[in-house]
């Protein structure tokens, strides 16, 4: 009997060791390290998205470490980024979260999806780590988790300016034809009431599965049958571009309201410029921003990746890790999650502009970042940028 137990225990020890060794191989050993966790989709359908968010974190970590680390309470630390794949699955994210906090004592865990965030929130307050959630879904901060930070500003701010511009440029009849995933649903839920409150009508409501659909013609022709002035579209940039293209092919002359997940710049590459997006309102990639912080970041990124432009995911996560490090310095601890979370407000104020490409200004008391982003309108084939506050003030 004793023998049997021994082997079982040993077996698990060995397994645990093997996995620890395997993991250790991913990060170099240094004297003083802070483990920062990441769990996100690195394989499966959402892998690209996950890798983009991770890239931003890696960029920031590399930058910090190459600059000799950062000092907290007289001690110099380097960042060790521990990334685990969760295939976009909440339960895997929870497993990874446990692992990151238990095996690596990570005080902060990044995750780029709402499901993962919800799963981590089941135990993050008890286990004492900050969830850095890269998702615009408002509910991640609404339920009052004290150790959650929502990195991108909530999209609800876009509703009024988008509606205002679209109505002015095109007319009051909108057809809803955006994607069906969770984020798109949240958008629709916020957008439709705003549109109606501002005097518009929704003439067709026909969301489509942008990532699985074989073909958008059916769905697009269906909403076009209702003769809308404006089409509300949006999902990932590429399929969104296709929807816009097919709508034009089917004779749609109005403008698009493009959900912020799709970036006009990326769409223009697929459909050959902005001509097809005439009269549309949406967001553009960072590369088109005029602000010095954005320009500095883009330049830095291009130095490392000559061929690619930084995506929003890269930029926000880059910013977020810098903010975390700043907050650790402000709080004077690399361990106490509550203190780190508490120092975010101060950290945002002292953050260097080049580390804050989107110009995030503050964090609300529930943990949501706040910013005044640029809104893009296509007029005569050209993109016109305006600050959100400017649009609202008009």
């Amino acid at each position: 009997m004793g023998n049997g137990k021994q082997t079982l225990v040993n077996r698990f020890r060995r397994l645990a060791c093997a996995s620890a060794i395997a993991l250790a191989a991913t990060g170099a050993q240094a004297a003083e390290e802070v483990n920062i966790g990441f769990t996100g989709p690195l394989s499966g359908g959402a892998a690209l998205y996950g890798q983009n968010t991770l890239e931003g974190l890696q960029m920031a970590a590399k930058e910090i470490n190459e600059a000799g680390g950062f000092t907290v309470d007289g001690e110099t630390y380097e960042i060790n980024l521990v990334s685990l794949d969760d295939k976009y699955s909440p339960s895997q994210a929870a497993v990874n979260g446990k692992r990151l906090v238990q095996q690596y004592n990570a005080p902060v865990i990044f995750t780029p999806h709402s499901g993962g965030t919800f799963a981590l929130q089941a135990f993050n307050e008890r286990d004492g780590f900050v969830v850095m959630s890269y998702t615009s879904v408002p509910t991640v901060t609404e339920k009052g988790n004290e150790l959650t930070v929502r990195i991108p500003p909530t999209f609800t701010g876009y509703m009024k300016p988008f509606t205002k511009i679209a109505m002015k440029e095109n007319g009051k009849k909108v057809a809803v034809a955006n994607a069906t995933h969770d984020y798109a649903k949240y958008w629709t839920k916020a957008f439709v009431p705003t549109w109606e409150a501002m005097g518009g009508t929704v003439v067709a409501d026909n969301p489509m599965d942008y990532n699985k659909s074989a073909d958008f013609y059916t769905g697009v022709s269906k909403v076009l049958a209702e003769k809308p002035d404006v089409m509300f579209i949006g999902g990932a940039s590429e399929p969104t571009a296709l929807v816009a293209k097919q709508a034009r092919e089917l004779g749609f002359k109005g403008g698009f309201v493009i959900m912020d997940q799709a970036k006009m710049g990326e769409m223009s590459k697929i459909i050959g410029g902005y001509k097809m997006l005439e009269g549309s309102v949406g967001v553009v990639p960072l590369t088109l921003y005029e602000e010095p912080g954005a320009k500095a970041f883009v330049a830095k990124y291009h130095k490392q990746n000559a061929e690619k432009d930084p995506t929003t995911e890269v930029a926000y996560n880059y910013f977020a890790l810098h903010t975390v490090v700043q907050a650790m310095q402000e709080a004077g601890t690399v361990e106490d999650a509550e203190a780190i979370r508490g120092a975010f407000s101060a950290a945002l104020k002292s953050l260097k502009p080049e580390n804050n490409p989107y110009g995030v200004t503050a964090i609300d008391d529930k943990g949501g970042m706040m910013a005044d982003p640029n809104i893009a309108t296509v007029k005569n084939g050209e993109v016109v940028l305006q600050r959100m506050s400017e649009v609202l003030a008009e």
Binding site: K5, R13, A16, T26, K98, Q103, F123
Partner: protein, 354 residues
């Protein structure tokens, strides 16, 4: 009997069962950290569902590819009842099992009229319909947004199941219960009835077995297992989305079953644990994991079609028979009385196999 046989016998004794249970009970104390306990608990929850699949697929021989769908149905029933309707956890948990059983009955009555590939692909489609409904039926399921704030199982007195270790014991208890029931079924006349159907519908019918009734019973048992596991899962992860119903989960469960040994009693558990920990230790491969995993699956079905436990049991069964024959020739005088005993013992053990 040589040493190997002795060891192999040991694996089958009641003592070994006690050792395994004690090891499982002690695991949280020897585990390096809570993460390992958490993974283990999650593996137990999956194992419960895999035991369900073993009843319909392993015992009864019908490849059910809607199993993941029923897992999700259990999880959603629990979530909807607790979050949207304010039920307490345990009544909702029981309801989840019941819903799984009822829907299983309805699906079973239609699908079990089909045979072999038709049944497999039909259930694949049923699984996909379940997924699409969970994804699209927003009024009921919250659609793609998923359901958050699912309560953990209500504790009794001082026990708090939001904590990992208590939940581990809860999952362990349910799993032991599941295995116990599965073994009851497998070793009983009922299990033998299922097995006769697996061999051949014609043979089973000629032995006076009502095919439809028994197949539906096996199907309902399996979906009940799946939805109970799903309900536990919801209480553990406390957030669910339509992704839980994706067919990849069914494929995962088939893999667990196949690695462990389909139709065996310990196979589902061993397979689930082995693959779960292997996946965890292959994490460093990240997106390249499947490059190793895919071919592994192929190699496994080509060279070890019976799985770990299945291969072991065949080997052991032969050894025992050989040992028995040898002892019989030695004691030529041995009459029925003495030969009865070993054969009774061996049947009981081979019953473990069924």
């Amino acid at each position: 009997m040589n040493a190997l046989t002795k060891i192999s016998n040991f694996f089958m004794t009641p003592a070994m069962k006690i050792v395994m249970i004690v090891a499982a009970l002690l695991f949280p104390f020897v585990a390096g950290n809570e993460y390992q306990i958490y993974v283990m608990a999650l593996a137990f929850v999956w194992a419960i569902a895999v035991y369900g699949m073993n009843i319909i697929t392993g015992l009864c021989g019908q490849l059910n590819l809607a199993h993941g769908g029923f897992f999700a149905i259990g999880a959603y029933t629990l979530a909807i009842l607790t979050v949207d309707n304010g039920w307490a956890f345990w009544p909702a948990f029981i309801a989840a099992g019941a819903v799984g059983a009822i829907l299983g009955f309805l699906v079973g009555v239609i699908s079990l009229r089909l045979k072999e590939h038709y049944f497999a692909i039909f259930t694949l489609c049923v699984g996909f319909i379940i997924y699409l409904l969970l994804d699209k039926w927003e009024e009921l399921t919250h659609g793609a947004l998923g359901i958050i704030n699912i309560p953990a199982p209500s504790g009794f007195g001082l026990v708090d199941f939001t904590e990992t270790t208590p939940f581990y014991y809860l999952a362990l208890a349910f799993m032991v219960l599941s295995i116990w029931l599965a073994s009851r079924i497998a070793h009983s006349l009922l299990g033998r009835t299922f097995l006769a159907i697996r061999i051949s519908d014609d043979l089973a019918a000629s032995l006076g077995i009502n095919l439809m009734r028994n197949k539906v019973l096996a199907f309902v048992l399996s979906t009940t297992y799946a939805s109970v596991a799903g309900a536990l899962y919801a209480g553990m992860v406390r957030f669910i989305g339509p992704a839980e119903a994706e067919v990849t989960h069914t494929f995962d469960m088939i893999t667990y079953l196949l690695v462990g040994g389909i139709g065996t009693l310990m196979g589902p558990l061993l397979g689930t644990l082995a693959i779960t920990w292997l996946t965890q230790s292959l994490q460093f491969l990240e997106e390249y994991r499947m490059i190793v995993f895919g071919p592994m699956l192929v190699v496994l079905v080509i060279f070890f079609p019976k799985g770990v436990v299945g291969s072991f049991l065949s080997w052991r069964g032969r050894r025992l028979a050989a040992a028995h024959d040898a002892s019989q020739t030695k004691e030529k005088a041995a009459s029925n009385a003495s030969s009865n005993k070993p054969s009774a013992a061996s049947t009981q053990e081979a019953g473990n196999h069924a």
